[in-house]
């Protein structure tokens, strides 16, 4: 029996501009499905950031505000304070969230803003063509660490989700991966829960998604999925960091 291919209402029927093998498409699709399942397409407001997903409003089929680099959490705060009953989320990459926007993300967590952040960690700057990110792994080669990230010289990757989990205003944090179907299903569960934690008014929620960047890693899409499994997961670990026992 042929199964109907269901397209989420909350995703527009367009061709992605993302590179083959990039995780953005998977994560967009998950968000669209979750918004449909929670029946919040008419009330949700997304905040796009600066990075390859800067124009995700071209794909999402709900209201979206594009924010300056790193400032999405502040923009989301302005939105949520005016419209406390709407679900509001930011979609940010590692440079946006963990470098230029560190202050903004820490403070939404500290304030316990009823917001959700989807944090795409691909250990590199994608849009600007492959420079070191705050989450670039030790010894990882990028265009600005041409012989590998030397922790003596470039410093260490930042485990920002752990930092955010420490804030009292944070209700839920989970790190997930997109390298295989099993983990994609787990990622969707975490993202859905993060939205529901916000709906329940429990505090700030964040899902860090370990993601691929085949183009700038210089790997094929399949090799990229292996690279998450073999390098990113051993370094960062995956699983819940806060709010595991919350029932929503």
């Amino acid at each position: 029996m042929a199964k109907e291919r269901l397209h989420p209402k909350s995703i527009q029927d367009k061709v992605w501009h993302y590179c083959p093998g990039c995780s953005h498409g998977i994560v967009h699709r998950i968000i669209g499905e979750v918004i449909d399942e929670l029946n919040i397409q008419k009330s949700v407001i997304g905040i796009a950031s600066v990075g390859c997903s800067y124009n995700n409003y071209e794909y999402f089929n709900f209201d979206v505000i594009q924010a300056a680099h790193g400032r999405a959490p502040a923009v989301a705060t302005g939105v949520k304070r005016v419209l406390p009953n709407n679900v509001v989320f930011t979609y940010q990459g590692d440079g946006d969230l963990a470098a230029i926007g560190t202050a903004e993300i820490i403070h939404v967590a500290a304030r316990g803003e009823r917001l959700t952040t989807i944090f795409i960690n691909n250990a590199i700057y994608g849009m600007t063509s492959g420079q070191m990110a705050p989450t670039t792994l030790p010894e990882q080669i990028t265009k600005t660490t041409p012989v590998g990230r030397n922790t003596d010289y470039h410093g260490f990757p930042i485990r920002i989700s752990e930092m955010l989990a420490l804030q009292e205003g944070t209700a839920f944090v989970e790190r997930v991966s997109t390298h295989d179907v099993k983990h994609i299903i787990k990622a969707k569960k975490a993202i859905k829960k993060a939205f529901m934690v916000q709906q329940a008014g429990l505090g700030f929620s964040l899902v860090e998604v370990l993601s691929t960047c085949p183009t700038n890693w210089g790997l094929t899409p399949l090799e990229s999925q292996e690279w998450i499994k073999d390098h990113m997961i051993p370094y960062y670990g995956i699983g819940n960091l806060k709010g595991k026992d919350i029932k929503v």
């Binding site: 397409q41 008419k42 009330s43 949700v44 407001i45 905040i47 796009a48 800067y54 124009n55 409003y57 999402f60 089929n61 709900f62 209201d63 979206v64 505000i65 594009q66 924010a67 300056a68 400032r71 502040a74 923009v75 989301a76 705060t77 302005g78 939105v79 949520k80 304070r81 005016v82 419209l83 709407n86 202050a103 903004e104 820490i106 403070h107």
Partner: protein, 355 residues
């Protein structure tokens, strides 16, 4: 009209914000404008609005961006170093065509400068400061009464043109106490905001707010549309005041606190037979170039008096266009020129011109 009350300039700005129907404020403390926050921290939550102390001026202006994007009347206030930090946000607000109000109670610079009154933000508020071809409406009150009226008006202008409207008040405007008479009912225009990203609801389509477009044709079209809007503002919104400009020997161009001193200098000068005029721009952008230019053939000279090293004088020179001599007198550091100090300067200039 209600009875006159004695109030501090910063408190009046805050009261005007509420009277204009703005119930959302995001800001970061900085002297000499912090009383605005004190007032709104108490009042806005009582009214069901938002007072939020942000982690930085950068965060505050981006909170304003978010609140405006969903259709709310929203304001932030700061002083010079804080305005420098907000400039990135101003550029995005311009690009995304969002209405917002920003109050700048100007102090001295550069760097951390000092907390006493200055007008050294003229360049950064009238000539951009952020990147890109954009403009902000800038209103410059010179009394507490005008602080009230222009702050209320700034919300209407911001909504009307979907752009940032600033009130530039120097530190003494914010800190001084003066009589103010509030209207029984404010002249508030409510604008439809079908563009707001406040949730799709039953709109039938999604909205998005953005300042980015990587298509060169489309981005140029956006810029041309912005420029057309700015030309419209220049056509409709120029405001200025002229005192004793007809038959003046010299016209002093001045705004804010310094323009008040000139009013007394005019009287002092008359006693010794000198006719001094005051041309006071109320909109610093759009600047009243044409109105000022009308005087070029009639006076011996123009004198720009500012609490800066000479910033507005560049616009005075543009207006005068080489047809008269333009002089400058300014103080920097927080001193405000005394009447006699300015009169002496006027006498010196006229002696030079008469040679």
């Amino acid at each position: 009209m209600s009875e006159k009350v004695l109030m501090k300039g910063n408190d009046v700005i805050a009261e005007a914000c509420i009277r204009a129907g703005c119930l959302h404020y995001f800001g970061y403390p900085i002297t000499p404008q912090t009383e605005i926050s004190h007032y709104l921290a108490k009042r806005l939550p009582e009214l069901g609005g938002t007072f939020l102390q942000a982690e930085s001026e950068i965060a505050a202006i981006n909170m304003v961006y978010g609140a405006s994007a969903v259709g709310a009347r929203v304001m932030t206030s700061s002083s010079s170093p804080g305005i420098s930090l907000k400039q990135e946000g101003f550029s995005y607000i311009a690009g995304a065509e969002l209405p917002a109000v920003v109050i700048d109670v100007v102090r001295c610079g550069p760097g951390l400068g000092g907390i006493l009154p200055g007008q050294c933000d003229y360049f950064q508020v009238t000539k951009g400061g952020g990147h890109g071809d954009y403009r902000n409406i800038v209103l410059a009150p010179n009394s507490v009464q005008e602080l009230y009226e222009l702050t209320v008006e700034s919300f209407n202008l911001a909504d009307k043109y979907r752009m940032l409207c600033m009130v530039m008040a120097d530190g003494s405007m914010g800190q001084m106490m003066e009589a103010v008479q509030f209207k029984d009912k404010e002249d508030i225009t409510v604008y439809d905001k079908p563009w707001a990203t406040n949730g799709m609801g039953n709109r039938g389509h999604s909205n998005f707010i953005t300042s980015v477009n990587v298509n060169p044709d489309e981005l140029e079209k956006t810029n041309l549309r912005l420029q057309a809007k700015y030309r419209l503002v220049e056509k409709n919104e120029i405001r200025y005041e002229e005192i004793n400009c007809e038959n003046a020997d010299i016209i002093v161009v001045s705004y804010g606190t310094t323009s008040r001193i000139i009013k007394n200098v005019i009287k002092k000068a008359k006693k010794i037979g000198i006719n001094v005029g005051l041309f006071r721009p109320i909109t610093l952008w759009p600047y009243p170039y044409e109105a000022l230019a009308k005087h070029t053939d009639k006076v011996k000279a123009f004198l720009s008096v500012e609490l800066s090293a000479g910033q507005m004088i560049e616009d005075v020179r543009l207006a005068v266009n080489g047809k008269s001599n333009c002089y400058f007198y300014g103080r920097m550091g927080g001193h405000i020129p005394a009447q006699q100090e300015l009169l002496d300067e006027i006498i010196r200039i006229l002696k030079k011109e008469d040679k």
